[in-house]
């Protein structure tokens, strides 16, 4: 038994490392920002994009369950999800608020929306990432579900597709609307 202990050391070291890795995953910023889940939307105020009159602030997010979608004309994954967002608009499924993130100039966003369509109820222009940081965004597209009381309930990374809409979004929305 005496001479067994060296044979146990690898296991012990693995255990210690595993602890750090797990903790590191927990620290992962994508997860840390979802510390915002079940918290009120932080304060922010974004100006309108060029050609619009009204911008978008946290005070717009109340009284109904809505989506907040981060997008940009430079982001091709956003182009992938865009037709689906247009579908949601046609069917009047849910109001979508947009944050136009990191556009290179003030006309890029409006041009893109003009070309592909505008599914948003309100859009905030966010060239300096103030809105994005408020929501803890690490990439685009990202979509948040905000409930009637202005509380963030869910964060989705990447494009919304019919599949993940049916599987993930719909049940959450159904639930939130009941309350």
């Amino acid at each position: 038994m005496n001479s067994r202990w060296p044979y146990y050391t690898p296991l012990i070291i693995l255990g210690i490392l595993a602890f750090y890795f797990a903790a590191g995953l927990g620290q992962n910023p994508a997860k840390v920002k979802s510390v915002l889940i079940n918290k009120k939307v932080p304060e922010f105020l974004l100006p309108p994009i060029k050609g619009s009159l009204k911008g978008f602030s946290n005070s717009d997010l109340k009284n109904q369950v809505v989506l907040v979608n981060i997008f940009g004309s430079w982001c091709v994954s956003c182009r992938i999800e865009h037709p689906f967002l247009m579908q949601l608009k046609e069917k009047k499924s849910i109001p979508i608020y947009g944050i136009d993130w990191r556009e290179p100039d003030s006309t890029a966003g409006p041009k893109w929306l003009k070309k592909f369509g505008n599914p948003y109820t309100l859009i905030g222009d966010d060239p300096n990432s103030l809105g994005a940081i408020a929501f803890g965004v690490t990439g685009a597209p990202e979509t948040f579900i905000v409930d009637k009381n202005g509380i963030i309930r869910f964060k989705h990374l990447g494009p919304i597709t019919k599949d993940n809409w049916d599987e993930t979004f719909k049940p959450i929305l159904k639930d939130l609307r009941k309350k």
């Binding site: 001479s3 067994r4 044979y7 146990y8 690898p10 296991l11 693995l14 255990g15 490392l17 595993a18 750090y20 890795f21 797990a22 903790a23 590191g24 995953l25 620290q27 992962n28 910023p29 994508a30 997860k31 430079w74 091709v76 994954s77 182009r79 992938i80 037709p83 690490t138 990439g139 990374l157 597709t161 019919k162 599949d163």
Partner: protein, 661 residues
Amino acid sequence: MIIEIGHFSLVLALFIAGLQGTLPIIGAHRNNHSLMAVATPAAIIQFILILGSFTALTYAFLVSDFSVINVTSNSHTEKPTLYKISGVWGNHEGSMLLFALIIAGYGAAIAVFGKNLRPTLKVRILGVQALIGTGILAFILLTSNPFLRLTPAPVNGKGLNPLLQDPGLAFHPPLLYLGYVGLSLTFSFAVAALIEGRVDAAWARWVRPWTLAAWGFLTGGIVLGSWWAYYELGWGGWWFWDPVENASFMPWLAATALLHSAIVSEKRDSLKAWTIFLAIIAFGLSLLGTFLVRSGVITSVHAFASDPTRGVFILLLLIVTIGGAFILFAWRGPTLKGAGLFQPVSREGGLVINNFLLTVAAASILLGTLYPLFIDVLKLGKVSVGAPYFESVFVPMMIPMIAIMGLAPLLKWKRGDFKTAIEKLKFAIALSVIGGLFVWILIDRASAFTSLGMTISLWLLTATLTELAGRIKLFRSSLRESINQLFRQTRASWGMTLAHAGLAIAIAGITASSSWKVESIQIMKFGDQVNVAGYNYTLKHVREIQGPNYKALRGTFIVNKGDDINWVLEPEKRFYTDPVMTTTEAAIRPTFLGDLYAVVGDRDEKSGGYITRIYFNPLVPWMWTGAIIMVLGAGISLTDRRHRVGAPSSNKIPAPGIPAE
């Protein structure tokens, strides 16, 4: 339809892998031959199924089927065909599929070529390999499925990052994977041996060729990646001690140690527990690398976008696989005592020190790579560990190792004679020391450290050649006899000579390029001339040209040196549209003593000239050449028939005095 078949094929493969991972192992335990018989066919079928999946995905890329999310995110109709194919593995999901394919591939290889393996051992190896495969397949199907559809299908895709549209980088992942995923096989060998409770010469003899193959591929993959960085990133750097690079280097160090440890286990019935441990560690480091790259716990320019779910899954896979192996090791390890004894000064002794130094080096790299994570978790701030740490820790450890590398092949097994060995090496020692002094005194800007590097490189080369000379009795009998002997040397011994010599040459290249690099940055107008390292560069003009999916600014340099050199170097700055991206294409001209390296940058509005960067990178071609020779050595060694023949019938410990291989 094809996509759905590919998807289904993968699910079926998972099922088969599950069976393959359980039934045969139970069968071996209970001596149930029908259960054991499941292994071989299952391994082959599993491979064919995953190959089918992979083909389906490749097909989707080739025909630009944008109804598949993976294709849309990573491809574009305007991409050249080669890069449509390499786009398959140029993303997270596709590369995991490649991972699964290679695991199954190695398993199938054992199933087909492992006829001489002890049946219980073979079946256990296939079983463990399948268990790993199950984990990877489950990971793919649950978190990283490349076969997800997109409706409606867009007209065109996102395109592939232009940096990846490059022959070097296109083949870097497959080579790298054949390498460190190949270490899964040596891992399976180790765990199977632990389950069996038996590590004998037969086992070691079987492990070596597979380790060699994985090592060869891994060397190739790493070097290809470095070479790509060298010509693509625009300033001649080729290694940055970035976490992702370290993630591939640590398994390489472990695999090198394993290769040598297995020799001792095979020939001397010694170091068995250590060899098993290394086999587990090597694959563990591969899995760790996979975890680090894809989970987001460590910041790196290379890391894929982080997804915590994937990170959790890979971590679990890592813990279960390696933890399980270590539990087995703790249980069975003490029973693996070898019978072979040896003196400290002996070939085994040399190999032990070599192993130890390699392992400590790998551990210190691991420490440096993980340190930021530790500090972050302990909430002590955000830090990064820079290249200087790795260099100041790794290089000093390698110097004694390389010194011993030259000496050990001349030591006998069991009881080596230091005096005799040094006597044989006196010419090599003298040459190295003189060479080093020559560099130090006569070459400008040579620091003591650089001279040491060149000394070491020269030492390794001359010592390796001395050893060869000894075997062919050079200068001790007729030239004809020596040439005769040359042809009689085994391929395995050629492998060693080539690998060690290749490393020596590469080290010379590494030392020179790190220490004596010449850099010159300036603004040049058309007709301006600049002299870099003795070469005269004239910027003739800069033109705009059109490529297949990019526009570019191409600069034309005329390079002169004296009367007999008149070369043209044409670097480019490319502007891609899908996705929008700029890349720098350096113009490189290799010469025996170094690379001429030119880059054209932006236009300087004030003067109307262009920012140009011109480098002379000394001995860089030696680095690549040395590495190629190393891989060649591995390849030649693999063709040695003695590696392919099955286990010897007896387990006697061979007498001391047998040659290196």
